[in-house]
């Protein structure tokens, strides 16, 4: 570098444009990280696919008893949702906190929300890819989609948005605690949440406390929407319910994550 005078390069700052740009730059960086650490992706794909084949292979006979004639189409949305919740879930954020890289981002003029959304946008792409792969596996073993390719696309969008919303809780935990163990509990909580929904049977077939739990579980409405696409055809109320459930979940999780982010600088 020559001994040029350093111009105080303080030019006007367009907040909206710079926030979008920062979000994009950081999203690309996150994606690059996940491509370079493919080991992360393997369990996120293997587990849902294993789960799908286990459910289909072991329980198909039972399903007939419930009156579900298309059991594979009933279970595929579960596997897709499973794959969609397996983003970084905030673990990348924990790595950035531990390495001190987050501080390096925080001393740039990039807004807090673009740092958070950049990391989360990469998660959105990651979980969408995972959900798509699971969907293709399902198609390969002959799951018939009532709503065709358009329905499959809507299902992918829905599951991607769900993955984003769910990972918001992971980011909130990561930013609050800066600790990998605590952050992983968010992922572990997914299974009980899944079991407390309409995992095995439609809502009408559930009884007692499980029925009550499923009523208040957003996954119930999400699964209903996803299953309407694979099993019965376009249904505005089921789909509306699913998108609403995801919106509520996402608003809650991203608000928590932003609160936790603010808390870090105090």
């Amino acid at each position: 570098m020559t001994a040029q005078a350093i111009a105080p390069e303080i030019v006007p700052w367009n907040s909206t444009r710079e926030s979008l740009r920062a979000g994009w730059v950081l999203g690309v960086r996150e994606l690059r990280t996940s491509i370079r650490t493919p080991a992360y992706l393997v369990p996120n794909l293997v587990v849902p696919i294993f789960f799908f084949f286990m459910m289909v292979g072991a329980l198909e006979e039972f399903a007939v008893g419930f009156g579900i004639d298309n059991w594979k189409a009933f279970q595929l949305p579960v596997a897709i949702m499973f794959a969609a919740q397996g983003g970084s879930a905030g673990l990348n954020m924990v790595a950035d906190i531990e390495s001190g890289y987050l501080d390096k981002l925080l001393v740039t003029p990039a807004s807090r929300i673009s740092i958070l959304l950049g990391a989360m946008a990469a998660d959105l792409m990651r979980v969408t890819a995972q959900a798509t792969i699971v969907l293709l596996v399902g198609a390969a073993v002959g799951v018939h989609f009532e709503t065709g390719i358009a329905g499959a696309l809507v299902l992918i969008v829905l599951s991607g948005l769900f993955g984003l919303s769910y990972s918001g809780f992971g980011f909130a935990m990561a930013l609050k605690t800066g600790n990998a163990q605590s952050t992983q509990t968010v992922q572990f909580l997914f299974l009980p949440l899944l079991f407390l929904s309409t995992l095995f049977a439609p809502r009408e077939a559930l009884a007692g406390w499980l029925s009550t739990a499923a009523t208040f579980n957003p996954l119930t409405y999400l699964l209903a929407g996803m299953r309407s696409l694979s099993m019965s055809g376009w249904d505005a109320s089921d789909l509306g319910g699913a998108f609403l459930a995801v919106a509520i979940l996402g608003t809650a999780s991203i608000s928590l994550a932003l609160l936790a982010f603010r808390g870090r600088v105090r």
Partner: protein, 345 residues
């Protein structure tokens, strides 16, 4: 970049000629549980100088830097950096300063070049210019050959240099370096010192650096604040601080059990200004070392106190620190900061 803006309050005002680069008044930080890490410090850093904050670990140096770089909220007090108010103009301050923190905060999976490019873009620099600056800075810190390797393969010194480069992508006016050479080998330390000197001399960057290395503070800083337990205990140029002590410093090694006795024996000698006791013996601040030492030997001999070693030196910053706080900075880590409390008497 366009020159129009709709953003509120972020159009910076220019710094006037005689304004300090940094002004701090009554800055305080209390952590939950009542621990006061920084206790109402005042300081000012002039435009273009290298300002050192010297003190032991736990003195509040890092907390001070984190507050001034907008990473931590002060509990009380005010500060302006480049004329921008720390409370109101945080974004303007972030664009004005460069920061290299104690832990070189780098993404291990990324390459050196990628880190610089991302950093530049976050400062609003376009991709083409970001690429150009990344190459230029990699050259500056002699990392061009390693530019496309992942950071996880870098040595400690390389990481520090990359971290320094990443603090410079937007050509900051003020550079904060928190313990920049901690954990580096002597050769890497020298390299980093030269970089800092060059940035300051050639580009006129104002530098604020924290350190617990006396030599580093002495070598780099134009002015110093010596901090201990969250307070500034002394401030000035290294030369002035040492001159304040004046005379010579005589160090005498004696058995800890005979320390009080030696103190009494030497306390009556002519030309003695002050005695401080620490873990290894006594430090005597005297008017003239060469005439004083023979008297020390005679006095201790008369009292039948065995002497380990005696040395005479010009005062160093360690003596400045000792005089201000009652304990030594050098070797403080090994003793985990346990200073001899009687010394303060």
């Amino acid at each position: 970049m366009t020159t129009t803006t709709r953003s509120r309050g972020t159009v910076p005002r220019a710094m006037t000629e005689n304004e300090n680069a940094i002004d701090v008044r009554g800055l305080r930080r209390e952590f939950p549980g009542g621990v006061v890490a920084v206790d109402e410090i005042d300081l000012n850093v002039r435009e273009g100088e290298v300002f050192g904050i010297l003190g032991p670990n736990g003195a509040g140096k890092t907390t001070t830097v984190r507050m001034l770089t907008t990473l931590l909220k002060p509990t009380a007090g005010r500060a302006t950096i480049g004329g921008f108010d720390l409370e109101r103009d945080q974004r303007a301050i972030r664009r004005h300063i460069g920061v290299a923190l104690q832990e070189a905060g780098l993404d291990p999976i990324a390459t050196g070049r990628e880190i610089l490019e991302v950093q530049a873009q976050l400062f609003g620099i376009g991709m083409t210019e970001a690429k150009r600056r990344a190459s230029e800075l990699l050259e500056l810190v002699s990392l061009s050959d390693a530019a496309d390797r992942r950071v996880e393969t870098y040595s400690g010194g390389m990481k520090r240099r990359l971290d320094l480069a990443s603090a410079l992508v937007h050509r900051p006016r003020v550079l904060f370096l928190d313990e920049p050479t901690e954990g580096l080998d002597p050769a890497s330390r020298q390299t980093l010192w030269r970089e800092v000197e060059r940035l300051n001399a050639e580009l006129g960057v104002t530098v604020v650096l924290t350190t617990h290395y006396l030599e580093e503070a002495d070598h780099l800083a134009d002015r110093l604040a010596i901090v201990d337990q969250g307070r500034i205990v002394s401030e000035g140029t290294p030369v002035a601080l040492k001159a304040e002590i004046g005379g010579s410093v005589v160090t005498v090694e004696v058995e800890p059990t005979r320390r009080e006795q030696s103190r009494d024996a030497l306390g009556r000698l002519d030309g003695l200004r002050e005695v401080r006791a620490d873990a290894t013996g006594l430090t005597l601040f005297v008017e003239d070392g060469s005439t004083f030492v023979p008297n020390v030997i005679r006095a201790l001999d008369a009292a039948a106190i065995p002497v380990g070693a005696i040395s005479v030196a010009q005062p160093s910053l360690d003596e400045v620190f000792l005089r201000a706080t009652g304990s030594r900075l050098e070797g403080a880590e090994a003793e985990s900061g346990q200073s001899d409390t009687e010394a303060a008497a």
